[in-house]
Symmetry: C2
Subunit: 751 residues, 2 copies
């Protein structure tokens, strides 16, 4: 706040003094010096340590649980089972199918059954070993094909469709049959996308206290608010007797967007023992149940028409239960898989027709300020600029066609915040309050900085409006007691939604400061901030302002949110250059060019970090990450065996930030945290085809698959490795929806 | 928040559901189970421990400081001296005379000179021992008489009046000379009030960190905001780079109302080392400099006319510097001493005139809704009811006159919050913000709960307005980052001022909730709070309200505050019954009756606790507490030697809460934390006279003094032990001020 005079803010780009500048993160010092307090660093006197006993069977009925021997071990302060926490929960209101501890039936290897609080971790582990459980073991369901067959033993869940079907979706927009009848070329492909895991630096951890009738939980979570709601439900306490605090965060990538058993268990154990209880999971521990499955199915279908201008669209989706450990959504939730399929499908069509894939795609890009056939609102769209950037920089069009070397091009899009809250309601999705007093500025926001830098973005927006520097803004975030609601760090929503809320609150605060200074006969820009705040505090009393963000409520077919899945969409394009060895099947990535339409880069340093991190993660999924199970157990259950890229595997990258000034975003900003991952994966497979003329129609692209595809090609079989069609699924008749007017400025008729 | 329907709030007493009820403190569980985190409980990784080297001389010039040997000790991370912290500070803007570490001159035994941060306390202490300091020793000034003499060596401070005079005040309201001329009886007395100490359960402690360019200090302070200001000044950092947090608090009683050297020193050492630095003082450590001295002098004079209706008043006051350790204000700041003198003076006059002292005093009580001769505004006044309660309950009027047994009666008054901030400004003295969202209610306030229960009062007021219970209100308090300004826990200001701010904020919040519910076609009282908050959050977005309190700005002679020293005054009356042994001089308190006009008891449990704690502390000052010095060093420097009452010394008490519904206070409330101490002390001395016919005109009333007074009585000398007149003091001519109209409803002419 030492700036003697500050530039005026008229909202125009020309006068930005913070937005668009590469500021260091506000928490950089704490993070790099090791002073940031992560959940496992929270040290409280007399803390008990919790271990959770988990199922060794993928599918079994629990006949009996005997905890008496465990309770007799010295140092054990409490043992709980499902009978202590009978209320079911789940992230989505429609799938409340989990228990913190299961006492009737287990559904995957790792399903939690009992929890122990003891004076140290070793004693807690010994007590878990002393718990005797009798099981009736069932045949596990370890694949989609298994799930769709009539079950040999009982169904995994007692709700959903026939067999183990969880959810069926069948939707049609526009005239699909007419479209096929008129088509010159029809092609069907089947793709498979391997499971993979989030691999954040910090594992799951939670510590709870119970004092004066109130539970306080620190947790490594992405969704402080949803954890708060789930705790209230399962602990059967009002929300105001529970405080959830997000500690410093070592990354989530979607893997911390569910409420988890260990968060509930430590809270309950703290209530029973009256002492702090901590549980830090190892990497081997498992996850949840129905989780985000229904939402994943929705996204998989609804987000496909957002990149290409297509006149008709039909989607059939099926989600099944299996006895694998659920793991929540991951970066790009609901889109890496279909985007992989769509981009490769178009690639193949282009080859069928003898067209350049990149040029064929470009001809069909959606345009800004239009509606898609399934009613998505495209506001800004930098697809064309993104494509041009990477195609030109990489020399894709003029690349030399050398066997064993190839380039692949792909594009994608992602949402900037979910248009609908996970539980439908009319309340804001993000809320910010700002306090100014003679001591400075504080911004309060429920958003959880999971490493993506949302705290720095919040500080930058408030600083920009008030004429300060980001480090002048004190932040209070991710604490259900002290901060207003933000729905969480998922769906790439924080910069867009909390950013809009911060902008509103900051502009209201600025207006008060300006009024007080002008009442003193001066201009805000000519007065030191400290003096302006003293004048305003004397004039108005306590200086508090509030802002909030609720997605626009617009007529359309989407329940719970007129605007559809998101109020705005980011766009990306990518070119991958690689060498693929026909003899060994080994792939070496030479370089990745990536362009991302972020609308406006609030902080270009952070945007670049997100884009490059996405490329890194996308390459891991494309080339090596894999979840395989043997007798219900993960084949590579620890970081020692599970393959993901190391520092040495990261290729050269060239990143282009494209700014399209979205009309809905704060200063025009859209998301950057998930979208850039999406085009990387199909671009790798396209580049492998470019290099060797074989299609790998699944992830990961391993050397064995390349060698096998080349072998098939030599034998005159289809030069492809990939899945076959699944068994027939009993889809209902499609719900048919009329497309809206294409031009966004033309209002649609009510439907 | 489980109440399905709640009574309407029309502001009337009949409908109170929280106010006036004896609720358990909101922090009771944390305190009694030992889970409250006091400053010394704050555990941070890699914390360094700080020891401060202090002067062994009461008055000396520092010739040289050599820290080289200390720096060479293994484990020592930093050594600082006054050269590292040259900027002077002080609680009052007019007496910025302290340094965190002194490098030019020391002024009392304990003046801090150097500080060490080391890996443990023992190493830090050893390093302090290794610091070599050369002094030029001066003659110390150890009494008021010494101070008023021309100094033999140099003056203690280089500012103030002649010799060692700090401040001279001479004021006259009304016609004093005319009054004396008309008087039937004129009497002069001289009294002495011993120094004593605050004896909180928790000693001073502070821990600081320096991360990302920002200092965070946890401290056991009563004045978060003033510590914040002092740190900014001395560390030469903007306030927004400093966060001051009040941890759980083990009592202050005025002894923690200054910014202290150790708070500044740990902050500076954290900045230098980049590690957390903690300093917890032992009981032997000393305090500050000019401190509140000028304010004490002001209060001593200005508050005398608040209990009796007197037509003219003259005050001459002198504050001198000595070489004793300063200790800040203590409970009843500026009034135990003059009230002791005034009550005993009137007692003696009554005896001179053959009147009953209690009846003579009652005849002269001030009346409600009047102005005093020195322009103090008496709004509510329960003096008469307080006096009647204790006189009747004790049977004072009909007491049996038995040698060796006596009763004493005294009354007093105290301010409910200082009318002026310590630094004069137009900003609010207290600010509260309230957030409501679907998760509950949070109230934010800078007020520091030092054990008096201000957190519980804040919760009660917000709960009352919103129709909840106190435990439904989450509190964020005493943290300069997260809470708006409150000036601190001193001058009995928090219930009155922060309470008024909370009331304003809560009423604004209630209005939003009511509007949202009524827009839904229902009545607020019929809707669960959770539902009301969801409706309002959907209607208004982020729900934040703010309230503040600034004392009324009224024409009058008081600079910086038209309203004078306080916007409202509490009143108390007390009767003490005791046995006094003529042979041994031993005094045994049989019972104390005390009545306190608190305006309105927000929580009667807390008011009773404050009143009884005041009686306890008053009895300690009356009977045993004493500060004597030998060669500049305190004779009883630890709790082992210093005498204060134990649990067994506490007599039976009967407490009467008198409610007068003050028009300025929240729900009519006034202060309760300091006023009830004041009448206890003169009531003890009056009761000793009643029992034995001797006057002890000073504190404490020790057995030796009683025996000595009886010995003098037997010898026919005046039956008195007490001080003589001080040497003549060079007072200036009095500033004469015309008295205002007596009736509060008549506006005074501008002056």
């Amino acid at each position: 706040m030492s700036t003697p005079s500050r530039p005026p803010r008229d909202g125009g780009e020309a006068t930005f003094s913070v937005i668009g500048k590469p500021f260091t993160r506000v928490d950089a010092g704490a993070k790099v010096t090791g002073q940031a307090v992560y959940t496992d660093d929270v040290v409280l006197p007399r803390t008990l340590h919790c271990k959770i006993l988990r199922s060794p069977h993928p599918h079994a009925r629990i006949v009996s649980i005997d905890t008496s021997a465990a309770r007799r071990i010295s140092g054990v302060k409490a043992v709980i089972t499902g009978a202590d926490l009978p209320v079911k929960f789940g992230i989505l209101p429609v799938t409340q199918d989990e228990r913190a501890l299961e006492h009737e039936k287990v559904r995957y290897v790792g399903d939690p059954i009992a929890a122990v609080a003891a004076t140290d971790e070793e004693t807690a582990a010994a007590a878990c070993d002393a718990i005797a459980i009798e099981y009736e073991v069932f045949e596990p369901v370890m694949s989609i094909e298994d799930a769709l067959r009539a079950p040999k033993d009982e169904r995994i869940q007692d709700y959903g469709g026939p067999n183990n079907i969880h959810k069926l979706v069948a939707l049609e927009f526009g005239d699909m049959d007419g479209g096929f009848a008129k088509a010159d070329h029809i092609r069907e492909d089947v793709f498979f996308f391997q499971g993979n895991t989030h691999l954040p630096m910090e594992q799951h951890s939670a510590i709870a206290t119970y004092i004066d009738g109130k539970v306080t939980l620190w947790s490594s979570t992405q969704v402080v608010h949803y954890v708060h709601r789930a705790l209230a439900k399962v602990l059967e306490l009002p929300m105001n007797r529970i405080r959830v605090v997000g500690a410093a965060h070592g990354g989530g990538f979607g893997g911390k967007t569910d409420p988890f058993a260990h968060e509930i268990v430590v809270s309950k154990l703290a209530m029973i023992t009256g002492r702090p209880v901590k549980c830090t999971l190892t990497r081997e521990d498992g996850g949840a149940y129905g989780s985000y499955g229904v939402a994943s199915t929705f996204y998989t279908g609804v987000l496909q028409p957002i990149t290409y201008d297509i006149p008709a669209y039909r989607f059939e989706g099926c989600r099944v239960f299996t006895n694998k450990p659920p793991c929540g959504p991951k970066r790009g939730h609901g889109t890496p898989q279909p985007r992989f399929a769509l981009e490769l499908h178009l690639e193949k069509i282009a080859h069928d027709l003898g067209l350049d894939p990149a040029e064929m795609k470009r001809k069909n890009f959606v345009k800004p300020m239009t509606r898609t056939v399934n009613w998505l609102r495209v506001t800004s769209c930098g697809l064309e600029e993104c494509a041009q950037k990477v195609l030109q920089a990489s020399g894709y069009r003029d690349r030399k066609r050398v066997p064993g070397r190839g380039m692949g091009f792909a594009i994608s899009s992602y949402l900037s915040g979910a248009g609908t809250a996970i539980y439908w309601n009319d309340m804001p999705h993000s809320e910010v309050q700002i306090k100014v007093d003679r001591g400075g500025v504080t911004a309060y926001c429920g958003a959880m900085d999971i490493g993506q830098g949302s705290d720095s973005v919040l500080a930058a927006i408030v600083a920009e409006e008030l004429g300060l520097q980001p480090k002048d803004v004190r932040l209070v975030t991710a604490d259900s007691d002290t901060t207003p609601i933000d729905l969480g760090s998922y769906s790439s929503r924080v910069t867009f939604m909390a950013g809009n809320a911060a902008l509103e609150a900051a502009r209201k605060m600025r207006a008060m400061l300006v009024e007080a200074v002008e009442a003193d006969g001066r201009k805000y820009e000519d007065v030191k901030f400290e003096e302006a705040s003293v004048l305003a505090e004397a004039k108005f009393g306590t200086l508090v302002s509030a802002g909030s963000y609720t997605p626009p409520n617009i007529a359309g077919p989407y329940k719970g949110s007129g605007v559809g899945p998101s109020p705005a969409y980011s766009y990306s394009a990518c070119v991958v250059d690689l060498d693929a060895d026909a003899r060994t099947g080994l792939v070496h990535i030479n370089k990745v060019w990536i362009a991302h339409d972020v609308g406006r880069a609030i902080n270009p340093l952070l945007v670049e970090g997100q884009v490059e991190g996405s490329v890194y993660m996308g390459l891991g999924e494309a080339l090596m990450e894999e979840q395989e199970f043997r007798k219900g157990l993960h084949k590579w259950p620890s970081m020692l065996e599970y393959k993901s890229p190391t520092f040495l595997d990261v290729p050269e990258m060239e990143t282009f930030i494209v700014e399209t000034d979205d009309p809905e975003g704060p200063y025009g900003a859209k998301e950057a945290g998930q979208g850039p991952l999406l085009p990387v994966i199909p671009a790798v497979n396209a580049a492998v085809y470019d290099a060797l003329g074989v299609w790998i129609d699944e992830t990961p692209v391993t050397p064995e698959k390349i060698v096998e595809a080349l072998r098939r090609k030599e034998k005159g079989e289809p030069a492809r490795v990939g899945p076959r069609r699944f068994p027939d699924i009993p889809y209902p008749a499609c719900i048919k929806v009329e497309p809206p007017p294409k031009d966004l400025s033309a209002p649609p008729a009510a439907i």
